[in-house]
Amino acid sequence: MADLGNVLLYSLFPLSIYTTLVALAAGITKRQGLLVAARRGAYSVFAVTTLSVLSLVYLLVTSDFSIEYVASNTNQSLPLFYKIVALWAGHNGSLLLWTWIITIFVGIVAYQNRHKNNDLMPYVIFVMAGTTVFFSVLNVFISNPFDTLYQDLGNTLQEFAVQDGRGLNPLLQHPAMIIHPPVLFIGYVGTVVPFAFAIAALITGKLGAGWIHTTRRWALTTWGFLAAGIVLGGKWAYVELGWGGYWAWDPVENASLLPWLTATAYLHSVMIQERKGMLKVWNMALVIATYLLAVFGTFLTRSGIVSSVHAFANSGLGPAFAVFLTTATLFSVGLLLYRRKDLKPDEEMQSLVSRESGFLFNNLLFLLATIAVLWGTLFPVISELFTGDQITVGPPWFNNIMIPIGLALLLLTGVGPLLAWRHTSTETLKRSFGWPILGSFIFVLVLLGFGVNDGWAIGSFAISFFVTWTIVVEFIKGAGVRRKNSGENFFKALYMLSRKNTRRYGGYIIHLAIVLMFMGFTGNAFNSETRAEVGEGDTFTLDSYSFKTLAINSAETENYSSQSLELEMSKKGKVVDTLHPERRYYFASEQPSTEVDIYSTMREDIYIVLSGASNDGEKVIVQVYRNPFVKFVWIGAWLLVFGTLFAMVPNLRESKAGGQA
């Protein structure tokens, strides 16, 4: 089976090269036969990769410990489910997953467009298959998951198998971690589709709205997956890493945020191109940047160039990535410069107070955010270049810059949609914003009355309040207008209104989701924590909560030994719950892991970590964090996924008496 998988993986290399070349030839000659051949090449690339992945899964499930990857990432007693998902637990396997997703996308795009976009498709396949060539080089020659274990016998090497594998990294044995990599990878890899179409449009000179229409759903899907992947990563860090938070501006986290920022900017600025024919170069640049940042993110994660809690160790991929990134950057930027004259705007900006200028500010802010995050992430590398030391900028640096930018963006989600295209007069501004602004002021006074005194937090809550108000009014007013014309009842009107323009109202739902998430982020301003050494029967407090240690237990399973705590939690004298934080030691991987226990309500999370035994060994150390509003982040994320799905539903067309469907 290992041979089978390996040969299939090897055949991906010539097949993807063939597909790239034939696609290019098809583009140049415009011959039908070449295009059909390129399409078949795309299907073949998908077929061999899929079979190769299946054979790796087979090896993992049957625990073939002669394969290094299987031995390093699984062990005999690992549950079947974890054996399967070990496919993306290690570096080589997850790289194969990556390649597999690209080939799936190549196949889907080739199939979707088999009867259309004849001019663009050769170059689309060319770009996507070209990317596949690069990843197949990595998979086949540098990080091959089918490598066998070798024993050095003097001057010969001999294959051998170990008795049992090292097991799956305990940190990865968590549901969020299992879906986080595929979801994020789909987001990362998905950026190649709009990129390929943009490049095809640049090469062929067909720079109209065609490529944008074709990739609209792809762009949105990619964006949604990126967002979901980022949040899942945060959820995993929160539940599994045991330091009390979900986001630490770690380089690998930033790597996933960067393409998301530019993709978000693109989803907004593309609307100006659709309505006004402006920002054509800018949109192209954003699509290109998103793809390059996605590849760069992979590079950052894989090369070990910056140290991070969950980056893969230095794996020798750095130079290959550097070459690919440089080539892709030069190629796409060169093309963009070559075509810049053909991308002239059809109209000019007319007023500063208009929907289009709102989008423009939005884009400026996203650009600023991208640059800031990129700079902060690369600062260790840059500083090493000049000073010889890696200087890391910490979370406070990022927070100082990103909180104001984030709040300004949040404010725009409330203001932008209320502005009319072209020009909004002062009088209508007063009408649209008068009440929400007044309401927000009153809200601030209420907050002050309740004793909230953190400036940023008050700002964030006030803006959230304002944005929620304007969005809700948008829905109600829109339904009202529709009701007047159609005579439907309010809920029917609301439903029809949003189904008739799913992109607009899906967008508003996403804005609401972002508001919820910002509420969650703002909760960080009110965090508190404590640390206690406790034995059985000991008590300690945090704010209005008090804790009592009922028991300290030890247990052992096939996979790990563990120590756990039975902690009774009371609030104002009333017992609320008994919590069980745990600390495990996994035998196979020889790694400890903390299993936190979280008491979660809408108002706050009580997050309890068993950090270990005290110095004298008689007591245990417990860390308790009170994190207000964390739940809003997860709820917001669900709403965001819902909004994204809603925006992808095709618009409802009404049938009228005239018979128009």
Binding site: V7, S11, K30, T424, G478
Partner: protein
Amino acid sequence: MSILAYLLGASLLVWSMMPLFKKDSSWISLYMELEELEDRKQRVYGNIADLEFDYAMGRLSESDFTEVRQSFMNDAGRVIQKLEEQRSADLEERVKQDIKNIGKKSGSKKIKHQFCGKCGSENSLDAKFCTKCGEGLS
């Protein structure tokens, strides 16, 4: 086992190379001006719809609305006029091209596409309606 993989890889390669040896034709690029005009038409229509919605939602004063709407309507008129001119020019061009090709093609040659009589878009042969404008195809 690995012999299977070799066979599979090779046969996939052969399968994807087969079309290279068939007699084929090159496709005709759609006329770019026509596409661009079509884009612009869609854009103006979208703008008018947005404008009416914005007005209904009270984001524009009445005078702004009438003024802007009129200018959009003029735009739409101009674009439609240009589209008509372009289409008739394109049709003439296509007829000329077809006449030129009459003797060249063998009878067995399969036609892969048909063109919509209303808007001139390219459609697959089995399509019942035009994918662009929805006009029925014969």
